[in-house]
Amino acid sequence: MMNRRKLEEQLVKALMIAATLVVSSSLMLILVTIVWKGLPVLTLEMLTKTPEGGYYLGKGGGILNAILGSIVVGLAAIALASLTGLPVALYLNVYLGRRSKMAVAVRFALDTLWGIPSIVYGAFGFTIMVMLGMQASLLAAIITVALLVFPITVRGMDEVLQMVPDDLKEASFALGSTNLETAGRVVMRRAFSGLLTAVLVAFGRGIGDAASVLFTAGFTDSLPHSLFGPVATLPLAIFFQLATPFPEVQARGYASALVLTAIVLAISLACRLLMAGSSRAQSK
């Protein structure tokens, strides 16, 4: 009897270790595959030049248009989302109490919006575009991606602001500060690095998303120059390169995927450093 119980314990534990190994090795496998396939093909030319004619047939050039396009779309979208999102997050945590129905409703909306697939945002952005009589353009892409990252930004900020101790707010109120002053001068300052982390996480998500810009950004071989012209994005450049039948173009697709992954990893590393730094500063 005892033996059977011990045996079950050992068996399940072995299963769990195996499962954990499979899960973690799948991450390693992804990174290894991308680096192994992409790194040998990656050249300076790819990073610094725009595609020349026939790039997608295997001729010369690079993907600078897509790298810059993604960065511009990502930065502008995250700026829009944070500028509108930060006040919302502060309002939820300073003005509204813990039991406010409004706060519950807004959090519900944000969390479900978070779960809506990005292709639906793309379609929604497309309906807005049609309604305004716009073409696929940098502006349309920025608006769509801003909508996509908005719930991520606000909920990330919200989680951080919930961590700010109530005592701090109460002390500020006791000194006669209004809600607005408490939000701006006390709560925001205390949570600053956390807020920045939330923004960075959302930026990483925005820059990597392809389905939302598929309808709205269009694609072009030139660098982004006008709000109303089409813009190239890195995820779509990867997608298009891999969709060609030419092995050398596909190889460049792998290299482009490496570039995108490196950008995302760098962002997430920055987040880790920020968080580590802020927890050290707070424990002092």
């Binding site: 314990e9 519900f108 809506i116 697939p117 292709i119 639906v120 049609v130 995927a257 997430s268």
Partner: protein
């Protein structure tokens, strides 16, 4: 003093409006998709659109059923791989693992969750598609020439490839959420069970997991909804050409999100085509919204009980 209060109240009012805007964004999204989908709904009844498998836009046939079934295939495959694997490693990370594993697991899960879907697709093209096409399919469909294995497809682009890539994509969600939920179960519950002489696994099985059950279900629902709506990675590996409804894990599948993504170029040229695509987007919206709303309600109740 008065100015400060006025400022405060003004900002409060403005923010209140902004919050209402945020809360109504869901409605706006649903309404604008439906508004665009209306013209096809007037011509063809919704039931027929959802049940018919005939898809030929140029002749005015817009049956979405084979795409919905395609979605179900890849989602089911992904879930049946990712749920057991993810749950086991979540329990391991939360209950068994030494501290250092915990220290690694968190960043790993975060990084996996942050990687672009397209990069998952690239990885799938490089590894999963050849694996399925060169090894799994010849092996399985020859040896087991019946229901989920028999297939006429001879490439690796298949429902199984889509499902495998999706499984890897939703693993971080399952492991991340589930391990949090399990960790939130109070320590006393475990101590009581252990002190009665139960082994660690018995404790986990009979007490911890029982307490964590609603939260775990919510985690699975969230993963399900993510898998159902994932677009680019599936589009790259599942084949996604018009081969009718898949009848085997090795057949090509053409899920609903991939249909939307694939038709952006041509949809304006055929009447009702764009309207149908936006209807498909609305269906996707409705399904994922329902999943997320349920998961959210469950998690809220869990949180309330915890505090």
């Amino acid at each position: 003093m008065r100015l400060r209060n006025a400022k405060d109240r003004f900002a409060g009012g403005l923010l209140n409006l902004l919050c209402m805007g945020v809360a109504s964004l869901l409605l706006v999204m649903a309404a604008s998709l439906l508004f665009r989908a209306e013209s096809v709904l007037q011509m063809i009844p919704l039931r027929e659109l959802l049940v018919s498998t005939v898809w030929s836009p140029s002749q005015g046939h817009f049956g979405l059923a084979s795409f919905i079934i395609g979605s179900l295939w890849v989602t089911c495959i992904a879930m049946s791989i990712a749920v057991p694997l993810g749950m086991l490693s979540a329990v391991f990370v939360a209950e068994y693992s030494p501290q250092w594993v915990n220290g690694i697991a968190h960043p790993v899960v975060d990084v996996l969750a942050g990687i672009s879907p397209v990069v998952y697709g690239v990885w799938g093209l490089a590894t999963i598609v050849p694996l399925v096409g060169d090894y799994l399919m010849p092996f399985l469909s020859e040896r087991f020439p019946f229901f989920p294995f028999a297939s006429e497809n001879y490439t690796g682009y298949s429902a199984l490839s889509g499902g495998l890539v999706l499984a890897v994509m939703i693993l971080p969600i399952i492991v991340g959420f589930s391990s949090e939920v399990i960790k939130a179960v109070p320590l006393e519950v475990r101590e009581a069970s252990l002190s009665l002489g139960a082994t660690r696994w018995e404790t986990t099985k009979w007490t911890v997991l029982k307490q964590a059950k609603p939260g775990l279900i919510a985690a699975v629902i969230l993963a399900l909804s993510r898998a159902f709506g994932e677009t680019m990675a599936v589009l790259m590996v599942a084949g996604c050409s018009l081969h009718g409804t898949p009848k085997s894990i090795f057949d090509q599948a053409y899920p609903l999100p991939a249909l939307i993504a694939n038709t952006y170029g041509e949809m304006m040229s055929i009447p009702l085509y764009d309207s149908t695509i936006l209807l498909a987007a609305f269906v996707l919206f409705a399904v994922t919204f329902a999943f997320n709303a349920v998961a959210w309600t469950v998690l809220l109740r869990v949180k309330k009980r915890a505090t």
